[in-house]
Symmetry: C2
Subunit: 395 residues, 2 copies
C-alpha cells in the first residue's frame, strides 16, 4: 500500500498541461484557466485625481482666502491652476496642473464673493489618489495558471482588456462497465443496481470546466471494453472509468487497459477507497476509479480532482482550501493501516464552528457524501475525541 | 445608518420564492434548487446481502462441516438454503432464505470433498448488510430548497430517479448607467473609466444559476433610464443596476426608480459600501448596488447574494460557510461607525491556516477582491492584533 500523499504527488508529477490555448471574451471566461500573465498597459487611476468633493489648491498658498478659478467635474480635462486661486473639484476628477492638494468641501468656508477660506492646515498631497496607485502600467494583474473568478474578470475589464487567453477545456471521456448496472428510470431486476457513478462524476467534471464525452454503459466484454477505451483515447485527453479495477472483480477494464496501453494499479492506504488505476492509452491518460460510489467519490475528491486541475493548467490545486476545525464527535475505532476520510458537516454550536460526522460511515451509498460538506482526514490509527482539531477538505 | 444584519434580514424577509417549477434530467440538475422533497420509493440495498466474499450459513449449524449446496454471485436470485448446507456467496449478492449469517472466505477451510469448516464462532447476522440499511423506502433523501451538488445527483440516481423537480431559473436583468463608462476594448478618453461592474456581476449572477438579461450601458438620461427599467421589469424577476444611488450623484437611476415604482434607499454601516437601493418596479424587485466596484462587489457578496438565493428557493443561504480564522496582521485604525469587510486570503504559516490581508484596503479597484478568497468581518471600532479570530465570508 502507498500513502495518499505519495499517490497525489505521483499523479501531479504526471499531469501534462494541455498546450492549446484559445481567446475568450471576458463574459465567457469565468472558471477558465488563464494561459498567460495579464499585464496592464495602463495606469489605474490614469491621472492624479481627487478622492473627495472639495477644492484643489497649492498647499503653500492655502492659508489665504482665494478665488475659485475653474470647476472640474469628473470626466473633464482641467486647465493649469491659475496663480493665487483654487479650483472647485469633484470625486474622481483630474487634479489640475500646479495644484498639489485637495481640501474637502466640509473644511471650506465660501465667502460672499464666492472665494473660499479653509478652516484647517493643508498638507501637500492630501486627498489626492495618485496615478497608478491601484495598478501601475506593466504590472501583472492576473497570473498564468489562475482559475478565473468573477472579480478577476471585473479587474481585467478595469484595465480595458476585452478578452483573455485561456487553456482549451480538458476533454475527459467516461464510461461505465458492469452488467449489473441499470440507468435510473429503468426497472431494476433483483441484484441489479442503478448506475449512480455517472450522475456524480459527469457533473463533477463539468464543474471543473472539463468537456465531458459520456459514453454511458459499455457491455461487459473484453472486446467492447477495448473498443470503448480506444475510441475514448482518440477523443479525449483523459479516459475515466468506474469499477473493474479491484483484485477479483470480474469485469474487463483492467485487462483491456493492459492490452491497449499501460496500467499502474495502486493499493492506496485510503478509506473509503483503496484501488486506483492509472495509466496511458495512446496519448490519453487513464484513471480507473473504484466502482463503489462512496469510494469513487472520495478518491476523486482527494486525488483525482487535483490531477485534473493541474492537467488543465491550474497552478494552485486547492491545498489552501483545507481548514482545521474541532470535532464534535468521537471516533474510537480507527482503521490502523489506512488514512480515513470521514464525511463531515460544519455546524455552528454555541457560536463555534464544529465538525459533525455522518452517523453511517460505511461505503454503501452516497447519502454520506450528499449530506457532507467536507472530508475530515484522519491518520492511520488516529482516535478522535471531541475538540480535536481535524483537517477538513471541502466538497 | 442601519446595520448589515438588519439590512440582510429585511432583504431576506422580502425574498418571494419563484413559484414556477420545471423537471430536469439529473445531468442537467447540478446547481439547481430542488422544488420538492425527493422521497425514495425503494429500499437500498433492496435485499439483505453479503458484505463479503464467503459463505452464507445458518449460524446454529455453523459448527459442523457442511457441503456447499449453491453458488450465489451478485445479480442472481438464490434458492432457499438447503438444510445442513452452506452457499458460496459474493459481495453484494442476495442472502438466500433460511441463511442468517455470512462467514468470510478467509475463515473457511475447504475440505477435499468441497465441503467447508469454519475456524471461528458464527453469530447470527454477521457480515449481512440489511435491506434498507442505507435508505429506507419512504425516506426523504434530498430536501426541498437544497441546491443540488454532484453527490446529490449520484444519490438520486442510486434510488432510480431519472429527473428532478427544480425551481425555474431566476431572471435577473442588469444595466449600467454613466456617460463616463467605456466598454473594455474601446479607447478611454480622459476622465472615462472602463465598465468593470458588468464583468464581475454578470458572471457572479450566472454562477448562482440566474438567467441574466444583460442590457449593457444605458444612456445617462431620465427617459432612457425609465425605459430601461420598465423593459427590464417586464422581462425579469429582479432588476439590478450599479451606481447612481449615492446622495449627490448626477445620474438618473434614483429618480427613474421613484417614477416607475418604489424605492428604499439605505445607508448601511458597511465599509466598503454604504448606499444600497432596494425597491419594486411592477412585479420585479429592484436592487441598486453602489457604483464603486469594490463597494458593489462587497455589498453583493455580503447582502445581495443571499437575497437572490432565497428568491431562487434555496433554504440555507450559506451562513454555515463562515469560518473563524486567526489574523496574521494588525489593523489599528478601524472605522468607528461601520462594520468593515477586509479582503483577506487564507494562507498556511507554520502548519496553521491564518488570514493575510490585502495591503491596500481602499475601494479604488478590484485588485483586492481578485486577490482575496474571503472577507473578514470587523465590528465598528474593532482593533485587530495578530492571532485574533475573525469570521470570514468566503468569496
Amino acid at each position: 500500500m502507498q500513502t495518499v500523499d505519495q499517490t497525489r504527488d505521483w499523479l501531479l508529477s504526471r499531469a501534462r498541461v494541455v498546450t492549446t490555448t484559445e481567446t475568450v471574451s471576458l463574459l465567457d471566461a469565468v472558471g477558465r484557466v488563464l494561459a498567460a500573465d495579464l499585464v496592464s498597459t495602463l495606469d489605474v487611476p490614469p491621472h492624479d485625481n481627487s478622492a473627495m468633493d472639495g477644492y484643489a489648491v497649492r498647499a503653500v498658498a492655502a492659508a489665504e482666502t482665494l478665488p475659485v478659478s475653474q470647476r472640474i467635474p469628473a470626466g473633464t480635462v482641467p486647465q493649469p491652476l491659475a496663480d493665487g486661486s483654487v479650483a472647485r473639484i469633484f470625486t474622481g476628477a483630474v487634479i489640475p496642473p500646479l495644484a498639489d492638494a485637495v481640501v474637502m468641501q466640509e473644511q471650506a468656508e465660501v465667502q460672499a464673493d464666492g472665494s473660499v477660506r479653509f478652516g484647517a492646515m493643508v498638507k501637500a498631497g492630501q486627498n489626492i489618489r495618485r496615478r497608478g496607485e491601484d495598478i501601475a502600467s506593466g504590472q501583472v494583474v492576473l497570473a498564468c495558471g489562475q482559475r478565473l473568478r468573477d472579480a478577476d474578470l471585473g479587474l481585467a475589464a478595469a484595465i480595458g482588456q476585452p478578452q483573455l487567453s485561456v487553456y482549451r477545456p480538458l476533454k475527459v471521456a467516461v464510461f461505465f462497465t458492469g452488467d449489473e448496472l441499470v440507468e435510473p428510470g429503468q426497472p431494476a431486476a433483483a441484484g441489479q443496481i442503478y448506475n449512480s457513478n455517472r450522475y456524480w462524476l459527469v457533473p463533477a467534471l463539468r464543474q471543473l470546466g472539463c468537456e465531458v464525452i459520456d459514453l454511458g454503459i459499455i457491455a461487459d466484454t473484453l472486446t467492447a471494453t477495448r473498443t470503448a477505451l480506444r475510441d475514448a483515447a482518440n477523443l479525449a485527453d483523459v479516459v475515466m472509468t468506474c469499477g473493474g479495477v479491484s483484485v477479483g472483480e470480474e469485469d474487463h477494464v483492467k485487462a483491456a487497459v493492459e492490452a491497449e496501453g499501460e496500467l499502474q494499479l495502486w493499493k492506496i492506504a485510503i478509506k473509503p477507497g483503496k484501488p486506483l488505476a492509472s495509466g496511458r492509452i495512446g496519448e490519453a491518460d487513464f484513471i480507473g476509479l473504484p466502482g463503489n460510489p462512496v469510494s469513487g467519490y472520495v478518491t476523486f475528491a482527494v486525488l483525482v480532482r487535483d490531477f485534473l486541475r493541474a492537467r488543465m493548467g491550474e497552478q494552485e490545486q486547492g491545498r489552501a482550501a483545507v481548514r482545521l476545525l474541532p470535532a464534535a464527535f468521537e471516533w474510537l475505532k480507527p482503521d490502523v493501516k489506512r488514512e480515513e476520510f470521514l464525511r463531515v458537516r460544519v455546524m455552528e454550536r454555541d457560536g463555534q464552528w464544529v465538525l459533525q460526522r455522518f452517523a453511517n460511515q460505511g461505503s454503501g451509498v452516497l447519502t454520506s457524501c450528499a449530506w457532507a460538506d467536507g472530508l475530515a482526514r484522519l491518520q492511520p490509527g488516529q482516535v478522535v475525541q471531541p475538540g480535536d482539531l481535524l483537517p477538513v477538505y471541502p466538497l
